[in-house]
């Protein structure tokens, strides 16, 4: 499979992945770069199988997950044991995935994701 045909996997809880990919499509028209997977209703072995199947089908070498403690992250870590070229980015949110969709550089995307996280409090008049 050519690198152009490869997709990255976005995996997480509930409809997290589908929502993120939908947002990427709306903002950048690049949903075609991703496969969205959910862990909903699946035990850990089934999550790992789902990820392995998607990796094989789409030639994925990159997985984004939502939570460091999440079952998708644990499953991806298990897969890395026998597929050491697989890269995992956890704690991913829209700014990170969008940056990757548009630029293709995962390190830069992670940096932009970190930089996008802020707490903004309105100033109150005295």
């Amino acid at each position: 499979m050519t690198s152009e045909g490869r997709r990255a996997i976005v995996a997480g809880h509930g409809t997290f992945a589908a929502g993120i990919v939908s947002a990427v499509e709306q903002i950048a028209g690049r949903a075609d770069r991703f496969v969205a997977l959910s862990n909903a209703g699946l035990e850990s072995g089934a999550i790992e199988s789902l990820l392995r199947e998607a990796i094989a089908t789409h030639g994925a070498t990159l997985i984004f997950t939502d939570l460091p403690a999440g079952s998708c992250t644990i499953a991806a870590r298990r897969i890395q044991r026998d597929q050491p070229d697989l890269v995992l980015v956890t704690g991913a949110a829209l700014p990170t995935i969008l940056s990757y969709a548009c630029g293709g550089d995962v390190i830069k995307a992670a940096e932009q994701g970190r930089a996008a996280l802020m707490v903004i409090e309105a100033k109150r008049d005295a």
């Binding site: 809880h13 209703g41 699946l42 035990e43 850990s44 089934a46 999550i47 939502d66 939570l67 460091p68 403690a69 999440g70 079952s71 992250t73 644990i74 870590r77 298990r78 044991r81």
Partner: protein
Amino acid sequence: MTLEIFRIDDRLVHGQVVVGWGQPCALGFLVLVDDEVARSEWEKELYRMGVPPEMEIVFDSVESAALRLPEYRADARVGMLLTGDIDTMARLVAAAPDIRTVTVGGVHHKAGRVPRSRYVFLTADEEARLLELAARGVTVVAQDVPQAAATPLEVMLRGEGPT
């Protein structure tokens, strides 16, 4: 505070445990009871990675967990004990009969299991093991997250649990 929750969850350490229970209950430690994980440094490291720095995770076989339960109960922090399947919890209760409540947090779909709730699917053997626990005087409930009501075993087995 003490070791308060004995949870069966086939995902073991995951979001519901670490965040869903961990934050509102201020969990200070997890006891992961699994004979295979307890023998594997790689598996232990995998689960350690999923736990935030303020939460300790310890690993036990069924045998060592039964021996160390008094120590865990004396801990000043709030703790949760996890097993990945019903059989492991049943063996632990047999070895430590003073466990009074067991929470089924997640037993997901697999071939041969039938749905009992949104997150509990059981084979006939698994159902029998839960009923055996109840017959020993253990209160068995289904509850995935702390905000949800605990569903009694008999309600869950009627398929009237959370959907």
